[in-house]
């Protein structure tokens, strides 16, 4: 089990100091906010969507190093992808990128909060712009069952 200081490798610490795609996104098409009641991590994700493609994405808020690093990686992965591709992003895409596959249970919520926010934002966007309610229900369920 990767318990302690060893999860804080260079990349995580760097991201926590210099998160990518961080800040407010003017003129976004969708924005969503959620927080982790356990530790107070609080994340907004805003996206610009054009022709079913994420043309820009930013996250904002406060979080621990794990949360900030994972949010950075998630926004990097998401930018430029089609909505279909974004829907297929899984938790291991983020955790794997940062070597956090074995993160212990109490910290997994820090790592996956931004993915939950992203999926929720996408759900809200699709619910507004698509008629396929079965699809959006599935997405809503995906977001709810992330961890």
């Amino acid at each position: 089990m990767s318990g302690n200081a060893d999860i804080y490798h260079e990349m995580i610490v760097d991201y926590s100091r210099n998160p990518t795609n961080y800040g407010k996104l003017e003129g976004h098409d969708v924005i969503f906010h959620d927080s982790n009641p356990l530790c107070g991590d609080s994340i907004d994700i805003a996206m610009k969507i054009d022709d079913n493609k994420v043309t820009d994405i930013k996250f904002d808020g406060k979080g621990c190093a794990i949360c900030m690093a994972c949010s950075s990686v998630l926004t990097e992965i998401t930018k430029g992808k089609s909505l279909d591709e974004v829907r297929k992003i899984e938790k291991n895409d983020i955790l794997g990128e940062l070597g956090l596959e074995h993160l212990q249970a109490v910290r997994i919520k820090c790592a996956l909060l931004s993915l939950k926010v992203l999926k929720s934002a996408l759900y809200i966007y699709l619910a507004k712009h698509l008629d396929d309610s079965e699809d959006t229900d599935k997405l809503k369920e995906d977001a709810a069952n992330l961890y």
């Binding site: 356990l38 107070g40 190093a65």
Partner: protein, 414 residues
């Protein structure tokens, strides 16, 4: 002092958990006592003794076991009465903990005494358990919840209270005797004096105070008083609500069921005597017994000695932590006005990351909002790290905490 010092060193052997190691054979340094404390053998043994030797229900059967169980259960009530100086044991109600105690008051007193337009006053440094029940009540009744603000020194701004009392609409002022985040000891005498003059009832959340200092209900003069067993060496799931009898007698029951009744008929019921009217159902007998042993344990040490030990430790910890570059300690530096709770932040490192890294060194501290998000907003931080002490902590524990912060500094290149 010499003998007191050795008392505190010797008592560590009573706590089996302190002998264990964590994370790669590191000595456990337990500094999350504001959350819950460890239990001595005396408490653990008294609980197993009940289950092994006289387990039975109380207040009903006439056989030997039931008599022994009832005696042990009621003996704890008497021990509590002595411990916090309550003259009338009928005023002491067993509940699950401070949270349930406050909810009981909000429900059984609040629902019949709070009306539209009334004001309940709490403070900015309350635990969620002394905020949310009042939000629920005031929202239901169309009443208002107001806050006594906190100054930058971590002390309450009591002028705020005057302002609210002057409206004539305040029905209850509710406050913690010691902040669970900052350790600030509230000037209860002053608050109660103001409230008495205005004919307003007072509730004290003493979850953080009773475990750490001598508390005298007679002297305090409040109307409601709540605390938990598990923060003072006792088991989880047991706590106390004390209510002044003149108020308690006017209150409706909280839960309906067995033991709280005198006579039940198809369509009406009469209530049992105090305090049983408020103890419906089979109570947490084993843990009441265990709680009694915890009070015996603390009584033997003496609460003034407990306080002295913690003052010494807190002074040392503030001094040592202040030497670490980048540490910011919240709350008052005046040691006479604070208990053994130290909330801090370390440079720009998130408290969760601090806690996780030092956990690798065997140090258990709390990180997060400590169930005090209103206070976190006031401090303008998302979270803090918090070290909190109890009787078994030592200066070596403080040194271990300070040393472990070097590791955080190294990882985060501070």
């Amino acid at each position: 002092m010499q003998s007191t010092q050795s008392t505190f060193e010797n008592l560590r052997k009573d706590f089996p958990i302190l002998k264990r190691t964590v994370r790669d054979n590191k000595r456990l340094v337990y500094l999350d006592n504001a959350s819950t404390t460890q239990k001595p053998n005396q408490v653990i043994d008294s609980i197993t003794d009940y289950y092994r030797n006289y387990n039975s229900n109380i207040h009903r059967a006439v056989y030997a076991l039931a008599e022994e169980a009832t005696e042990a259960y009621e003996a704890t009530r008497d021990k509590i009465a002595t411990f916090i100086n309550v003259k009338d044991r009928q005023e002491i109600i067993f509940v699950r903990g401070t949270t349930e105690a406050i909810n009981l008051v909000a429900y059984a007193w609040g629902r019949s005494n709070i009306k539209e337009g009334d004001i309940i006053v709490t403070t900015e440094y309350e635990h969620h358990s002394n905020i949310v029940p009042w939000q629920l009540l005031t929202q239901e009744k169309g009443a208002k919840l107001e806050y006594i603000g906190m100054g930058d020194n971590g002390e309450l701004i009591l002028d705020d209270l005057d302002k609210y009392l002057a409206t004539g609409k305040v029905k209850l002022v509710t406050f913690s005797l010691m902040s669970n985040v900052l350790g600030t000891i509230t000037d209860a005498d002053k608050i109660i004096e103001k409230c008495e003059a205005a004919g307003v009832l007072t509730l004290i959340d003493a979850a953080q105070a009773v475990p750490h200092m001598k508390v005298d209900i007679e002297k305090l003069g409040c109307d409601f008083f709540a605390f938990s067993g598990h923060k003072m060496l006792g088991p989880t799931g047991i706590g106390v609500l004390w209510v002044r009898k003149s108020v308690l007698e006017t209150m409706n029951p909280f839960h309906g069921g067995g033991d709280m009744i005198r006579e039940v008929h198809k369509y009406e019921t009469t209530w049992n005597d105090l305090p049983y009217k408020f103890e419906a159902g089979t109570p947490n007998i084993a843990d009441v017994v265990g709680f009694g042993s915890a009070i015996d344990y603390l009584t033997k040490i003496g609460m003034d000695n407990v306080r002295e030990h913690e003052v010494e430790l807190t002074k040392y910890a503030i001094e040592k932590l202040s030497e670490v570059k980048g540490i910011h300690i919240y709350g008052t530096k005046d040691i006479t006005k604070r208990g053994g709770v130290i909330s801090f932040n370390f440079a720009d490192v998130h408290p969760h990351d601090v806690a996780q890294i030092i956990d690798g060194e065997g140090i258990a501290v709390r990180s997060g909002h400590h169930c005090a998000q209103v206070l976190m907003e006031r401090l303008d931080v998302a979270a803090t790290s918090r070290a909190s002490f109890y009787i078994y902590n030592t200066k070596e524990d403080v040194d271990a905490l300070v040393n472990s912060l070097n590791k955080v500094a190294k990882v985060f290149k501070l």
